[in-house]
Amino acid sequence: MVGLSEVTSAIEREHISSLLVHGKRIDDRGLFEFRNIEVEVSPIEKAEGSAQVVLGGTKVVAGVKVDVGPPFSDTPNKGVLTCNAELTPIASPFFESGPPDEQTVELARVVDRGIRESKAVDLEKLVLIPGEKVRVCFVDVYVLDYDGNLFDASEIAASVALMAAKVPEVEVNEDTGEITVLDKKQLLPISNIPVSATFAKIDGVLVLDPCLKEERVQDARITMTSTQEGNICAFQKGGIGTITLEDVDTVIEVVKEKAEPVRDLIRELTKEVRGEI
């Protein structure tokens, strides 16, 4: 993405900025308004769980695969959770094939932190034989179309995919350590629903859910992920601009109001599969 901001004409920036001083955005949204969110639950039958999220012009697919393996040696009593992201060249002429770059790694790790630190998945309940065999959950996010704010689209997709996932039940023979994978399915143990909100800071003005045109001219990016209790479970400033305490206050206030409707949407979408509110 190096050089991207350079190729965007100064004119574009001035245009966006001049609208912002009047509280307007290039796509006529309010400063703190999400774009339209469309979610398809479980589009990938072969994944244990999956979700496609379209956020404005951004489209991502998340898939969850669950396997059995050893725990990490420093957390013998926890299942394993791994988030991975792929910025496929399909999604943007600026994405290239090859091993994950900085941008990809950051996306994966911020989504991972949101899920992990909110305790979205109750990893203790994924242990089969303590210290030896646990469930291993892979959450893989593929970006198919990039129109800004990959963070929130990916976080929603990952959450829905995890909540919609159905994994085979297993029987553990504690004497022999043998594990039998049954034909019956069960849900993953979900304890929380993290919701992230990403802001672009452009000429001192914060806007929620930036589109690509806004991202290209942003000075800084702020992603804040909140739990259903309203706490902050992940925060990530990006970009080469600076932010202030006031920016953080604004972000916290906006998230208070805007995260819950997204969480409700996720709940609503997975209500049926989980048989709960």
Partner: protein
């Protein structure tokens, strides 16, 4: 996985039902349900989405565009590049995100099946990039990928002398049958992925594994060509639909002005 026993549904004893049809109710020359969509992505110059059975495939095309690094450019024609990638969750066991040897080979044969249809000499020193992402795999991914990629090329406005359409033909319990499903592919005796330039009636992809007598092989090719022609109808229809939609949109915009 060590010490992990999988209790899975036994595959049925036969790939044919009592009424002689295949397990999913198809006849030997019948295709699985196919759904196509064109122009599904915003950023790519052209794109398409194809569902073929349970295959779910997105194809995107960029170009003709300038090539970096420049020393790779061809002096007399466009360089066609292709990347075929499977999502980690597209198959039963999670696939590593890094491309494997199968993906490398399929990228090559898909590229070689598309290039004959492209007027590459119109764009010396340029590149045309084709990306195929398998979201779900269900037997015959490379063929459905070619169908999707050809649509994406057309959607990108890349000048082509013909479309390209792919379909596999296989052998199950001694019978030649088109368009094997996943289970037929795994339990069957052979598979012949092929691609056709349908108006020229020439073959641009032809591979085979398994065991075919020469007669079976020839029969398979003929059935495959017929199957490809059916898929081509769908390709053509979806492109006509797409063009008329685009035309309408342009017309509407002009009216608004």
């Amino acid at each position: 996985m060590n010490n992990v026993t999988l209790v899975r549904k036994e595959p049925s004893e036969s790939l044919f039902r009592e009424d002689g049809l295949r397990l999913d109710g198809r006849g030997l020359d019948e295709l699985r349900p196919i759904r196509m969509e064109v122009g599904v992505l915003n950023n790519a110059d052209g794109s398409a989405y194809v569902e073929h059975g349970k295959n779910k495939i997105v194809a995107a095309v960029y170009g003709p565009r300038e090539l970096h690094p420049k020393h790779l450019a061809l002096p007399d024609k466009a360089l066609v590049r292709c990347e075929y990638r499977m999502a980690t969750f597209s198959v039963e066991e999670r696939k590593s995100p890094a491309p494997g040897r199968r993906e490398v080979e399929l990228s090559k044969v898909i590229r070689e099946s598309l290039e004959p249809a492209i007027f590459v000499y119109k764009y010396p020193r340029a590149t045309i990039d084709v990306f195929v992402q398998i979201l779900q795999a269900d037997g015959g991914t490379r063929c459905a990928s070619i169908t999707a990629a050809a649509l994406a090329l057309a959607d990108a406005g890349v000048p082509m002398r013909d479309l390209v359409v792919g379909c596999a033909v296989g052998k199950i319990e001694g019978k030649v049958a088109v368009d094997l499903s996943d289970v037929e592919d795994k339990l069957g005796e052979g598979d012949i992925p092929m691609a056709l330039m349908p108006t020229k009636k020439v073959i641009t992809l032809l591979q085979s594994d398994g065991d075919f007598t020469p007669e079976e092989f020839k029969q398979a090719l003929e059935m495959g060509i017929a199957a490809c022609e059916k898929i081509y109808e769908m390709q053509r229809d979806i492109l006509i639909e797409r063009y008329s939609k685009v035309r309408e949109e342009v017309a509407e915009e002009q009216e608004e002005e």
